[in-house]
């Protein structure tokens, strides 16, 4: 029976990947019928992360649910690096805004990795499903919300999330956000239209297009972020903006940040596969 399931999976995944994925499904399936169902769904192209309902992200194990974007290993990699480079302490706590927070993976991992009481994070997303999942993930990871309006210092790192559209030119006036920020993080939709047809079905048929498509060139959201960064009192001096970008967009995004957001100090981080993946802007 296991060998039959393995050969079903191997048709679409190849033998090595099939063996690994079958093992992960076996670890989770409570009975044989459930395993068969998992394999059937997988062979139809459904992402493994939706079938298993979770994805490890650094030391965290986050819930995954369609259509909210599945956390990617590239994102995991740069967020861990960002945590290593961020000096925050309870005596000088930092405030972070995550734009298009999705599953909440970026702020939640930073909350987990940085010293307790040193970080207050807020995520916005246009999708109510994403917000629900992000809040559930915060609960699963034991990361509390900060008490609203209170000036009292938090003893723990905190995460809150609200509905919001950062493409809106008036977004910086949104009452649910609380600028100025020390850190802006964003993994915006960055896939351009012409690459749509080349995407695997497991992406296009299951994950939210609103989390994937960044307009005709894939750069729409970076322009919106540059506009935000330029607003007075939106970010503190010495703040850092960390942006995930598509495989060939780093130079474009770096230029947008330099030209439109007037940032002079930028750097680009490669991902583990050698692609230029993250643009850092230091203000």
């Amino acid at each position: 029976m296991a060998s039959k399931l393995l050969s079903i999976l191997a048709t679409s995944l190849g033998p090595t990947q099939a063996r690994l994925e079958l093992k992960w499904m076996q670890q989770q399936a409570r009975h044989p019928a459930q395993l068969t169902e998992m394999v059937t769904r997988r062979s139809r192209g459904e992402p493994l992360q939706y079938i298993l309902g979770s994805q490890p992200f650094g030391p965290l194990n986050l819930l995954t649910r369609p259509p909210v974007l599945i956390p990617r290993p590239e994102t995991e990699h740069w967020v861990i690096k960002l945590a290593d480079r961020t000096s925050a302490s309870p005596t000088s706590p930092k405030s972070l805004l995550d734009l298009g927070t999705g599953s909440g993976c970026i702020p939640l991992l930073l909350c987990h990795l940085l010293p307790q009481g040193s970080l207050r994070t807020h995520g916005v997303d246009i999708s109510p499903q994403a917000l629900d999942l992000a809040k559930e993930n915060a609960a699963v990871c034991g990361i509390p919300p900060s008490s609203p309006g209170s000036c009292a210092r938090n003893t723990r790192n905190t995460f809150t999330a609200t509905l919001g559209n950062f493409l809106d030119p008036m977004f910086s006036e949104d009452a649910t956000i609380d600028p100025p920020y020390d850190i802006i993080t964003c993994n915006p939709p960055y896939i351009p239209w012409h690459e749509y047809l080349k995407l695997p079905r497991s992406v296009t048929a299951y994950e939210d297009p609103k989390a994937l498509f960044g307009g005709p060139t894939g750069l729409d959201f970076y322009h919106a972020i540059a506009h935000l960064v330029r607003q007075t009192n939106f970010i503190r001096p010495g703040a850092v903006v960390a942006l995930e970008v598509g495989h060939n967009q780093a130079q474009d995004v770096e230029r947008i940040m330099r030209v439109h957001a007037h940032v002079r100090d930028t750097e680009i981080w490669p991902d583990p596969w050698g692609k230029q993946r993250t643009v850092l802007a230091h203000l």
């Binding site: 493994l48 990617r72 994102t75 695997p200 995930e244 598509g246």
Partner: protein
């Protein structure tokens, strides 16, 4: 015993040469060497305590006091040795007593004293003289790889793995299977098991080597006996928090992801978490793909790398000792066939110490393995002692 002997001594103070006229057995010269080492240590203690200043003012005093404290068991053993020796002489004197009942009693007393003296010299004192092993508290990383014999080797690997997990359970060690590759025809192709607990490495390290099984495989229709092998490698497990930093520098480790991922990022949601580490100075590579997270695979790969480097360090230290001291400590050659499990004869033989247990299922499913481990540890302790004696 003491007061009795004293009473006898008062009756007959004559001295007899009987005890020292015994023929010399081969162990006598070894025992003499053991006692010479102990005597040296006792003299050193005397020197140390004579060097202590009266008011304990110097910082060297603290070191001396510590050394004195550490060698207290040696002093106790020495005192017991001299006391027993003296009693033995006193008892010997009674061998020529005019009273026959007294002579019989003396003989009996002499035998019992000789027995305690022998055990003192051949087991208690050597155990105190052998320096404590630096790996005593380490946990272990157990690697099993199927060898010759195809599917049958994988089936036997699963049996061996169960045997080790059972042993770990009874020793209250905590185990976790880090990675494991099933064989399609049944059994396990290879596995990596973490065994955490005090003394896990010290006990399991003697399991390193080739284990051979001779049996009729469950898959064999003709009833022919097959010979297959499984290679076992036991590495010391070094925790991240231990002084592992000295083992390698991050600059020397190349971290690679295993597959091309195309555009990556949002374009791809396939789970590709495999990681490979290469330690450039030694050429050691570690691949890990069992976890769904690259981050976790990387952490596990680093754990394995630390274990391999620690193992390398230990073998290098052994080799250095051997080079300087003509050590008799046996090499841990991993290609060496160390044990045979013969199902037809219901026996397990360890080729290194020539020990055979005539109850195969007790080894695979009971306490038999512990007997082997005890015997191997004893054998090791003896070879360390030999080593020490030859260096004397």
């Amino acid at each position: 015993m003491l007061s009795l002997s004293r009473r006898w001594l008062r009756i007959t103070p004559a001295v007899c040469r009987f005890a020292s006229s015994h023929a010399h057995s081969p162990s006598d010269s070894k025992n003499a060497r053991i006692m010479r080492i102990l005597e040296k240590r006792i003299e050193e203690r005397k020197r140390l305590s004579s060097e202590l200043s009266h008011d304990m003012s110097s910082s060297a005093d603290i070191i001396r006091l510590k050394q004195l404290k550490e060698s207290e068991p040696l002093q106790a053993a020495w005192d017991e040795y001299t006391r027993t020796r003296q009693l033995l002489d006193e008892t010997t004197a009674l061998f020529e007593d005019s009273d026959e009942a007294m002579r019989a009693l003396a003989l009996e007393e002499h035998q019992s004293l000789s027995t305690s003296l022998t055990s003192l010299i051949s087991s208690h004192i050597p155990s105190l003289l052998i320096p404590p092993s630096p790996t005593t508290h380490l946990s272990a990383m157990l690697e099993l790889k199927s060898g010759v014999g195809g599917s049958e080797s994988s089936l036997f690997l699963a049996d061996l793995m169960r045997m080790y997990l059972r042993l770990a359970n009874s020793r209250r060690w905590h185990t976790s299977v880090v990675s494991q590759n099933e064989n399609e025809g049944g059994g396990i192709k290879d596995a990596l098991v973490e065994v955490k607990g005090d003394g896990a490495y010290e006990a399991l390290r003697w399991e390193s080597g080739v284990h051979r099984v001779q049996r009729v495989p469950a898959t064999e229709a003709s009833g022919r006996v097959h010979t297959s092998t499984v290679a076992v490698i036991v590495l010391p497990l070094v925790e991240e928090t231990d002084s592992a930093d000295a083992l390698f520098s991050m600059d020397d480790v190349k971290i690679e992801v295993m597959r091309a991922r195309g555009a990556g990022g949002q374009h791809v949601n396939k789970t590709e978490s495999a990681v490979r580490l290469t330690h450039i100075p030694t050429g050691i590579t570690v691949s890990m793909q069992d976890e769904r997270s690259q981050h976790q695979n990387k952490r596990r790969a680093f754990t394995v790398l630390r274990s391999r480097l620690m193992d390398l360090k230990i073998s290098r230290e052994i080799a250095e000792r051997r080079a300087t001291r003509q050590s008799l400590v046996r090499t841990a050659d991993r290609s060496e066939k160390i044990r045979t499990y013969n199902y037809a004869q219901e026996r397990v033989t360890d080729h290194r110490i020539g020990l055979t247990l005539k109850n195969l299922s007790s080894v695979l499913e009971g306490d038999g393995l512990q007997d082997f481990i005890d015997a191997l540890q004893k054998d090791h302790a003896e070879s360390v002692l030999e080593d020490m004696l030859s260096a004397e």
